[in-house]
């Protein structure tokens, strides 16, 4: 292949070119609809309330006062609520598009992590409470009762195996331990959670006092689980597979952009039909030896220019470093687009865009997508001048939009962005949304500064990348 290198530069802003470009430009991703997400929250709450009520209605006062009655009740309550929360955990990461568009993947992941300890500890409590409660009722030892539960009750052996697996994964996911694992290893272990949930399902229906003899409850509960499994399969497996096959992306070129930074340019079919907004990211799976089994999130570093897509990556981990060695012709599978770091997030008339290091990639694509009225002010931070990648493109986009660009080169102390320097650089901050993209620490610092300067949380948007 000896074709000339693909140029992903900024198109000139003449009116004629604009019209032409609009014709081939990919459609924007659908607008977020917060009302739908709110409705989903109410439905999720209703499920939680209904689940709690199920536990309450299956008890009678006389049962509560019988030996082991309180423990048995607490056991079934923790079991039901824990199982329901586990279902919510699954739904939070099922990539349901209308929720994803409002809350964003990082927002949903934050919730997922915040809830995570609850279902596991509630379900462990469920097992303990019921064993002790049943032992008290039978006036027998806990160990004897454990044996009875495992051998005499239907579906209890698999449920116990499920719980053990769940606890094991829970312990591994605990922060201190998780840090010692490679991201991919941890992710693969984490997937076993689906198995743990699946094999624990039957004992609820067969043994749960709220379910036995209540066919409607059984049907509704089963439908909720089957529906959730369907959503996960559809949006985590089905949709990405369909998109990957449809667009059939292949690597065309790998271009160096700066020290350790490369742009990967992919060619695909029907890219004029791939709805994506500037600032969004895909999870990329390069079907090359040693890489095909892991997908990594990288932002597009420009809006699609059919038949081309571009991502720009800095070599930090094993995966991003190996991108530099990608061969042209390598097939690429995609999941996405995801992310709320888009023009739809904008609350105020104008915008301030701040990026550090390789965070400039998402900013570059967002800049291209922002309305011209946003008159963007761009702050680029970098340790050294050569680390300012995509600088020419950003400068050109800012010029076309009659905005301003400031480069802050040097160490954090030399080129600080703080409560003193930011208002000086951006006097009209109170009319601007703040978009921040960069390493976690940088993003947190800028979010703090903006908040201290009175920018409301709704108008601060960030995309942090973890190492």
């Amino acid at each position: 292949m000896s074709s000339p290198p693909v140029s992903f530069g900024v198109p000139p802003s003449s009116a004629a070119r604009n019209r032409k470009r609009k014709a081939v430009r990919a459609p924007a991703s659908p607008r977020p609809r917060p009302a739908l997400a709110r409705a989903a929250l109410v439905v999720a709450g209703a499920g939680l309330g209904a689940t709690t009520a199920l536990a309450v209605t299956s008890e009678t006062a006389s049962q509560l006062s019988a030996p082991g009655g309180l423990l048995t009740f607490a056991g079934s309550l923790t079991g039901l609520v824990g199982t329901y929360l586990a279902l919510m955990m699954v739904l939070l990461v099922s990539r349901i598009p209308f929720i994803e568009r409002v809350a964003g993947q990082d927002g949903l992941l934050r919730w997922h992590r915040a809830i995570a300890p609850w279902p596991i500890s509630l379900l462990a409590a469920h097992a303990l409470l019921l064993t002790v409660g049943y032992a008290q009722a039978a006036r027998t030892g806990v160990w004897h009762e454990t044996g009875t539960l495992l051998t005499k009750y239907p579906d209890m052996l698999t449920a116990t195996a499920g719980l053990a697996l769940m606890c094991l994964i829970g312990v591994i996911s605990y922060r201190a331990l998780r840090r010692r694992l490679r991201r991919e290893t941890w992710w693969l272990i984490h997937l076993w959670m689906y198995l743990a949930l699946a094999i624990s399902f039957a004992h609820v229906i067969v043994l749960g006092p709220s379910f036995v003899g209540h066919p409607l409850t059984q049907v509704v509960w089963s439908a909720a689980w089957a529906g959730s499994a369907g959503l996960v399969l559809c949006y985590r497996v089905g949709l990405p597979a369909v998109r990957s096959v449809r667009h059939r992306l292949t690597v065309t070129e790998v271009q160096p952009e700066g020290p350790g930074v490369v742009s990967v340019i992919c060619t695909g079919r029907h890219l004029d039909r791939l709805a994506v907004s500037g600032g969004q990211f895909f999870c990329w799976r390069f079907l090359a030896p040693g890489m095909w089994w892991q997908a990594h999130p990288y932002s597009l570093s420009a809006l699609p220019q059919p038949p081309y897509l571009r991502l720009t990556v800095k070599g930090r981990g094993d995966h991003s470093r190996s991108l530099a060695r990608l061969r042209p012709g390598t097939r690429v599978a995609i999941e996405g687009p995801y992310g709320t770091f888009t023009r739809y997030a904008q609350q105020r008339p104008r915008a301030l865009l701040v990026a550090a290091g390789i965070g400039v990639t998402a900013l570059r694509a967002l800049l291209e997508d922002l309305p011209r009225s946003a008159a963007p002010v761009v702050l680029l931070r970098a340790g050294r001048p050569e680390d300012l990648v995509l600088h020419a493109e950003v400068t050109e986009l800012v010029r076309q939009r009659r905005g301003q660009i400031h480069e802050l080169i040097g160490s954090r102390e030399q080129a600080a962005i703080d409560e003193v320097s930011l208002p000086r650089l951006v006097p009209d901050l109170k009319h601007r949304d703040v978009y921040v993209c960069g390493p976690e620490g940088f993003v947190a610092a800028i979010v703090d500064v903006a908040a201290n300067l009175g920018v409301p949380p709704d108008a601060i948007h960030h995309e942090a990348f973890a190492l």
Binding site: A37, L48, S58, Q63, G213, H214
Partner: protein, 166 residues
């Protein structure tokens, strides 16, 4: 979204109240099929003892000694209330004569589905034997049938209370 917790809370209250309002005990609807006299659980309930045919033995308590005399003097027959438990409902009828529990029967035992029926048919004879041996409702639950055992003991105790049996 700042309103998120409130939305979830509102949904939770609505869902909770909805289920409470909609809820029917298992016995009222789904148990109908198993309630017939041919149900497995029923068939294995110990046959009625001789005292069952005694005239005047209504479900109401008919204690021989109406005074608050020591309970050992009690005699008669009483039926406990219908105890609903997770998997069904049952009522125990206890016969006491000469200060001893001589028989326990279950005029009503309805269970939800086959597994519970099977279980009930196995454990009810055991529970009856335990009551007769212990001469009280203070019995050990049969492991594997905690709910059934609890309901059985509760109904027996209620019947014994009617007879002022201690």
């Amino acid at each position: 979204m700042k309103t998120a917790p409130w939305l979830v809370l509102a949904g939770a209250v609505a869902g909770f109240l909805g289920v409470l309002g909609f809820h029917r005990p298992a016995s009222a609807n789904a148990l109908g099929a198993a309630a017939g006299p041919t149900a497995a659980a029923r068939a294995s309930v110990p046959a009625a003892g001789p005292a069952a045919s005694a005239p005047g033995a209504r479900s109401a308590a008919t204690p021989a000694a109406s005074s608050r005399a020591p309970a050992t003097a009690a005699a008669g027959r009483a039926t406990g209330p219908i105890e609903q438990y997770g998997y069904g409902e049952l009522t125990a009828r206890v016969t006491v004569s000469a200060g001893r529990i001589t028989d326990v029967q279950l005029p009503v035992i309805r269970t939800a589905e086959q597994y519970s029926q099977q279980l009930a048919s196995q454990v009810i004879p055991l529970l009856r034997r335990e009551v007769l041996a212990a001469q009280s409702a203070n019995i050990n639950a049969v492991s594997g049938a905690t709910y059934t055992s609890q309901a059985y003991a509760l109904s027996v105790q209620a019947a014994l209370d009617k007879l002022h049996f201690k």
